[in-house]
Symmetry: C2
Subunit: 218 residues, 2 copies
C-alpha cells in the first residue's frame, strides 16, 4: 500500500470522534490527531478556519491525502471502502443492513439528542435547568439503548453487535455507552450491550481510541 | 428479475418514511403501503405487534421477501445494494462519502431533534410550551439547513445535491424541507437547497412519494 496521509480533527470526549478513532485503529491505520477543543474559547469548532474544513462546525473531520471527509458514519463507510482490510461491514446486503441499522439507531436516535450544542440550548434558550437537562439526557440514552438491546436480542448472539468481529455498530455502541456512564444513566438490564462492551474493551485498538487515552484528554 | 415482495410500514408525515418512499420510487420498485398511525390510539407504533417488527417503535420498516429492515438510512443503502438499477450513490468512495455526509447531516443533525416523540417530550416532561417547542424546531432546522447549504456550496453545482442524478442526499433533503415549510421555518438564503428541491419536485417518482399523495394522508 502506498503511504497514506490521514489527519483526524477530533475532540477526546466527542462520541462521533471516538467512533472514527475506533474504526481507524481497528483497521490498523496510522493517523495524526489534531485536537479541536469544543469548549475552550467558546468552541474552536466555530473558528473560521475550521468552518472551511467542516461547514457543519462539528467534529470529527478526516483529511485523507488532502480530501476532506465529514460526518462520522460517512467517514467510517469511506474508510471501509478505501481500506478494505479488516472490514467493518459484513458481506451480504442483509447483514450489512442489520449492522447499519444498529449503528444508525445510535447515531440517529441517541447521540444527536445529547451532544454538547443541544445540551447548551436546553439550559440556555430552552431554560430547563441542570436537573431537566440530566433527565433529558438519561431519558433518550436509556430509551435508545433499550431499543438497541432489543435489536441485539433479535438475532443469535456473537461476541460483538453482529457476530464475532467488530463492525460499525460496535464503533457506535461503545462511545455511546461511555457517555451513558459519564452521565450516570441506568445501565441495568442492558445485558447484551454490557457484554459486547466488555468484549470490545479487551481489544487494544479499541482501548487506544478511548477518550482518556487521547493527547487532548484533560 | 424475479418477483419481489416489498412492504413498507409507513406514516405519511414521517420524514424518514418519506425518504424511503422516494428511494423505492426512484428505483421503480413497487411496494405495498402499510400505514402506521403515529398519533391515533396513543401511537400505533407502540403496539406489541409492531414492536416485534421494529424494536425501536419507529417508522419506517421495510419487509423484503420476509426480511425485516429498519432505520431509513440502512434501508436505503440496502435497496441500493439489493436493487442496483438507478443507483442512489455515485461510483467512487470519495463521491459516496460526500453524498452520505450530506444525508447524515440531515438524518443525524436535524431530523432526530424534531421528530414527534422529541416534540412531545419538550412540551411534556421538559415543559417548554408550544412557543418554546416551535423556537426549538426552527432553531435546529435552520441551523442544520444552513450547514447543508454550505456543504452544497463547496462543490460545483449540479441539478441535485450531488451532480445531475438524485442520490440518498436528495432523499433526505426534500422530506426535511417539507417539514421546514410545515413549521414555517425561514427558508430565505437557502438558494442551493431551494433550487435542488424545485428540481426534485419535477420528478414523478418524487411527487408520488410526497406525504399528501399517500393513502393514509389525512
Amino acid at each position: 500500500m502506498p503511504e497514506q496521509s490521514l489527519t483526524l480533527h477530533t475532540y477526546w470526549r466527542s462520541s462521533a470522534s471516538y467512533r472514527v478513532r475506533m474504526a481507524l485503529n481497528l483497521k490498523g491505520l496510522d493517523y495524526e490527531s489534531r485536537p479541536v477543543h469544543l469548549v475552550r474559547d467558546g468552541g474552536e469548532q466555530l473558528a473560521a478556519g475550521y468552518t472551511t474544513l467542516n461547514p457543519q462546525q462539528l467534529v470529527p473531520t478526516l483529511v485523507h491525502d488532502g480530501r476532506i471527509l465529514t460526518q462520522s458514519m460517512a467517514i467510517m463507510e469511506y474508510l471501509d471502502e478505501a481500506f478494505p482490510q479488516t472490514p467493518l461491514l459484513p458481506g451480504t446486503p442483509a447483514e450489512r443492513a442489520r449492522v447499519r441499522a444498529i449503528a444508525q439507531a445510535i447515531a440517529c436516535e441517541i447521540a444527536p439528542l445529547n451532544n454538547l450544542r443541544v445540551l447548551k440550548y436546553l439550559t440556555g434558550p430552552a431554560g430547563i435547568g441542570e436537573e431537566g437537562k440530566l433527565a433529558w439526557y438519561r431519558h433518550w440514552t436509556e430509551t435508545g439503548l433499550a431499543a438497541v438491546e432489543r435489536m441485539l436480542d433479535q438475532q443469535a448472539a456473537g461476541r460483538f453487535c453482529h457476530g464475532d468481529e467488530p463492525t460499525l455498530a460496535d464503533c457506535c455502541l461503545l462511545p455511546q455507552v461511555y457517555n451513558a456512564h459519564r452521565f450516570e444513566c441506568d445501565m441495568n438490564g442492558f445485558d447484551r450491550i454490557n457484554a459486547v462492551c466488555h468484549e470490545l474493551e479487551q481489544l487494544a485498538p479499541v482501548r487506544d481510541a478511548a477518550p482518556e487515552n487521547q493527547p487532548d484528554a484533560a
